[in-house]
Subunit: 194 residues, 2 copies
């Protein structure tokens, strides 16, 4: 198999481990087992653990932003864009729950390794915020970046409460629907120039 392919496989194994058991579950030997590959090969690509972890996190940030871009580029009304973002961010199915867990791991990692993981985390968040702000701004929404951050904040927070069993999925959805209702009057350009 080609070099790039193997590297990808290995980084996918790292992602899976992150999603399942957090940062502590990512050991070189565990990665080898998860990728169904010898420990020696994990060393062969991505020589050090930090390099491997860093590359995985960068890849993750890229993927996350790219995925959201693909979905949001069919621009609807601003409210629809925000609704789609919230819907996408909500950890309801297996995949999005895994993604949320990876995000939490990354957030925690940013504390321990501000240089490696912190940079990836900031890149991730900044990319999402920039893109969301751009889309909103293009629709004439006032104070677009501030709103983008607010939407990201509530998405993250509600996701956390959902993962911690403080909200059921229907409760989370109706909470966000309420939130969107209150947001509606602020989304038109002529309503208020900030």
């Amino acid at each position: 198999m080609s070099e790039a392919g193997r590297r990808t496989e290995i980084m996918e194994a790292v992602e899976r481990l992150l999603a399942r058991g957090g940062v502590n579950a990512v050991t070189m030997r565990a990665v080898a087992t998860e990728a169904d590959v010898s420990l020696r090969l994990v060393q062969y690509y991505g020589s050090t653990k930090d390099e491997l972890l860093g590359a995985t996190l960068d890849r993750l940030a890229d993927k996350s932003i790219r995925r959201w871009q693909a979905r949001a580029d069919r621009q609807g009304p601003a409210l629809g864009v925000i609704g789609a973002f919230l819907d996408e961010a909500l950890p309801t199915d297996r995949a999005s729950r895994d993604l949320h867990r990876v995000g939490v791991s990354l957030e925690g990692l940013a504390i321990t390794h501000p240089d490696v993981a912190g940079r990836a985390y900031r890149t991730h968040l900044r990319g999402l915020a920039d893109h969301l702000a751009d889309v909103l701004d293009a629709q004439g929404v006032p104070a677009a970046r501030r709103l983008a951050c607010e939407v990201m904040a509530i998405a993250h927070g509600v996701g956390t409460l959902l993962m911690a069993d403080q909200l059921t999925e229907p409760e989370a959805r109706s909470l966000l629907a309420d939130y969107l209702d209150r947001l509606r009057p602020r989304l038109s350009t002529e309503d208020r120039a900030d």
Copy 2:
């Protein structure tokens, strides 16, 4: 020194380590050094690491809820209560930043150890949500618990963005002020019965 005093000192050392370097920084030997005590004594109280960690997390949840209760029991108008909550939760000074880091550690720990840390985390969140919901409900706010969760969500999310340098402190404050502005019409009982 009395038994309870030492135990408290040790758990405070655990908290400090959590705030500084996340979960991985909490080793028995590091706790001993941080508490300026011998390793043997850390074993003497809180025999197992899991027990020590669990007790610390429980204590933390208690403290956090109690602190917020003390502040919110001087009941003002609903908007003021929510504003106070947001203000308190915002990681601006050293202490609240440390607290936020501990919270992130706890959140991540809830993934790795759903039994020990997960329980403490849920207790923490539930306690905060219950109390906030009670206060709001007593003021006649409709759908109080849902709103309580929403406020907690945005507080957590904005805190995360602030810690990750995606928002400056003034930006975060004006974001929350905007949010509160939109919330105001919904806080009176006669405005809308949900």
